[in-house]
Amino acid sequence: MMATASPDSLLEVRGLSKAFGGVRATNDINLSLRSGELRCIIGPNGAGKSTLFKLLMGMIMPDSGTVVFEGKDVTRAQPHRRARMGIGIKLQNMGAYPNLTVRHNMLVPLHHERAGQDPDLQIRQLLQPLRLDGKSDRLVSSLAHGERQWLAIGMALAMRPRLLLLDEPTAGMDPEETHATCELIRSLNAEGMTVLVTEHDMAFVRQLQSRITVMHFGAVLAEGSLVDIEQHAEVRRIYLGHGTPRRLLQPRGARDLRSSAENG
């Protein structure tokens, strides 16, 4: 139905807009992901990254625009339908269930697996690369912050998605955990999974070596490689004010980006 879609296109977003009250959270977003692509969305807080993810998952409905996944228009589809079609998500403030055990958390996405398969075996296989092996019976609220984030990624992976949406997967992680998370995402991508990830941490973005989309005030500002982005005049003006490109490369938090955007 999308005349512009290339044959190996997995996700086609056209003119996606959503306003809350008078605020345009996303404004005419166009985004295209090839199958097997790794893409990073950067942008200051309030740029509309989380809203875009919720729109992609169907957790909120757009005012206008279309979302096409694997050639099917899913703009009006409910979240559970999209999940079953192969979109997995880890939202920023919506990771694992804190009051439940790790095992119970993993059972929720595994529910659709065929009967006869031992869920505990699957859980062990999924948890092992996430360093959560042997913590099956722990309450999530008793886990370290990084472990909770990894569990949330594990839960998204348990759905065996073809498109994985990760909203700030490294928020609150230390540099070592951030590095390991990046390696995990790269290895998932190397195995053929399409991943769309939002991030603040520029060290992470550099390590990821992916194509980058820059969002600002709910709209796509620029798209390209890290080098392209760093040389993009508008991005430099908004992000860095009159600063040097080096600041973009520093592992700084969102507040720095936003305040420099507001100042600039």
């Binding site: 957790m59 979240p79 559970h80 999940a83 919506m94 269930y97 439940l100 929720v108 529910h111 869920p119």
Partner: protein, 373 residues
């Protein structure tokens, strides 16, 4: 020979442990062998109750058990699905009225209440299906569900209260206004007790009979164990996930609205069973069953015991129903004592008295196990 015997034993033991695993699971209190032993003692004690209780006490105990269904139905929808329904009395009452009206009309003709029972069970489920579809698909949540369900039950109460006139006959059954269904005049028929079977082999379950007590006790046991199995199944883990966070659960591919609707209907079915048993027990039902009192009471029972556990909800209900009755016999001001107990439990043990005590025992036994190590 000896070998095959051993294999059979191992198989049996494996089956037994599998059954225990299916019933125990993460979602319920009481996973230890000690719990199941105590459970067996209580069940055997209850089934033996007719041997040491008077007729009146047994009649009273049957009524306690009928309340147990209402508590389980609320525990399922509120404790496990996170939906506070203040309209469980509507399902109970509607089932009671539907069974009663159908029973009055069909008993003589059929010689049994089989069809009336089916009608009584289907009616509340239909109401739940319609009400649930409207609520869950329109994303009505939280306190609005409570208000809406209470509103519906009060509508039924208001409607039935004004059916005293001559015009309010459904076949041979007179709806009877605030007197309800029952023999309040010589020419009015009362709803029959359950009489199940075909042709000549019909078994009657009059409210005063042992048969009624045994049937109610067995049904409660089956309902409790069945719900235990349900909440400990993988479906149950999804239910709890919905209670914790519905949006998140939907993103894992679960049709939350449909699941909520199904559980709401199941909850209505169990509350409906309570209503049918109630009519069968006393051969009457009044619009009071739809009133505020009958809808708030289960919430207090379940909150008192612990809403996140079937065992705690059921135990709390039995204890509170017994206590309020025992106190009422003692003094006119007993309700003040009861009120103080309820407020103290809500404030000091917010997860419910039985749940919190069980949690304490669990932690204590784990700590002593660690000391032994």
């Amino acid at each position: 020979m000896d070998y095959s015997h051993k294999v059979t034993m191992i198989r049996l033991r494996r089956h037994a442990s599998r059954v225990r695993m299916a019933l125990s699971g993460q979602q319920e209190l009481g996973r230890s062998a000690g719990f199941w032993f105590a459970f067996a003692v209580v069940v055997v004690g209850c089934f033996a109750a007719p041997m040491f209780l008077s007729r009146w006490q047994l009649l009273n105990f049957s009524n306690f058990l009928i309340n147990g269904f209402l508590a389980l139905s609320l525990c399922l929808i509120w404790g496990f699905c996170g939906i506070l329904s203040l309209g469980q009395g509507a399902f109970m009452g509607l089932a009671g009225y539907a069974y009663g009206v159908a029973g009055i009309n069909l008993m003589e003709q059929n010689g049994n209440t089989d069809l009336a029972l089916v009608i009584g069970l289907i009616t509340p489920v239909l109401l739940a299906a319609v009400l649930g579809s409207i609520m869950f698909y329109a994303r009505v949540q939280g306190v609005y569900v409570a208000i809406l369900t209470l509103l519906v039950t009060l509508l039924f109460e208001t409607f039935l209260n004004q059916t005293a006139g001559e015009g309010w006959f459904v076949g041979k059954a007179h709806l009877g206004g605030n007197n309800g269904l029952g023999r309040f005049a010589a020419d009015i028929r009362e709803p029959p007790s359950l009489a199940l079977g075909f042709g000549d082999s019909v078994m009657e379950f009059g409210g005063r009979s042992y048969a009624f007590f045994y049937m109610t006790m067995s049904l409660l046991l089956v309902t409790y164990l069945g719900l235990r199995w349900l909440v400990n199944s993988r479906f149950g883990s999804v239910l709890v996930a919905i209670r914790e966070d519905a949006d998140r659960t939907q993103a894992f591919g679960h049709d939350v609205r449909l699941i909520q609707l199904l559980v709401f209907c199941l909850s209505a079915l169990i509350a409906g069973l309570s209503g049918i048993l109630y009519v069968s027990w006393g051969n009457f039902i009044t619009p009071d069953v739809f009133g505020v009192y009958n809808n708030i009471l289960p919430v207090i029972w379940v909150a008192f015991g612990g809403r996140k556990s079937l065992t705690a909800s059921l135990g709390g209900t039995m204890f509170l129903v017994w206590l309020s009755q025992a106190l009422a016999i003692q003094s006119d001001y007993a309700f003040i004592v009861l009120g103080v107990i309820l407020i103290a439990v809500m404030m000091l043990l917010p997860e419910g008295a039985i749940s919190e005590i069980a949690d304490l025992i669990d932690r204590w036994s784990r700590r002593s196990a660690r000391v032994v190590e």
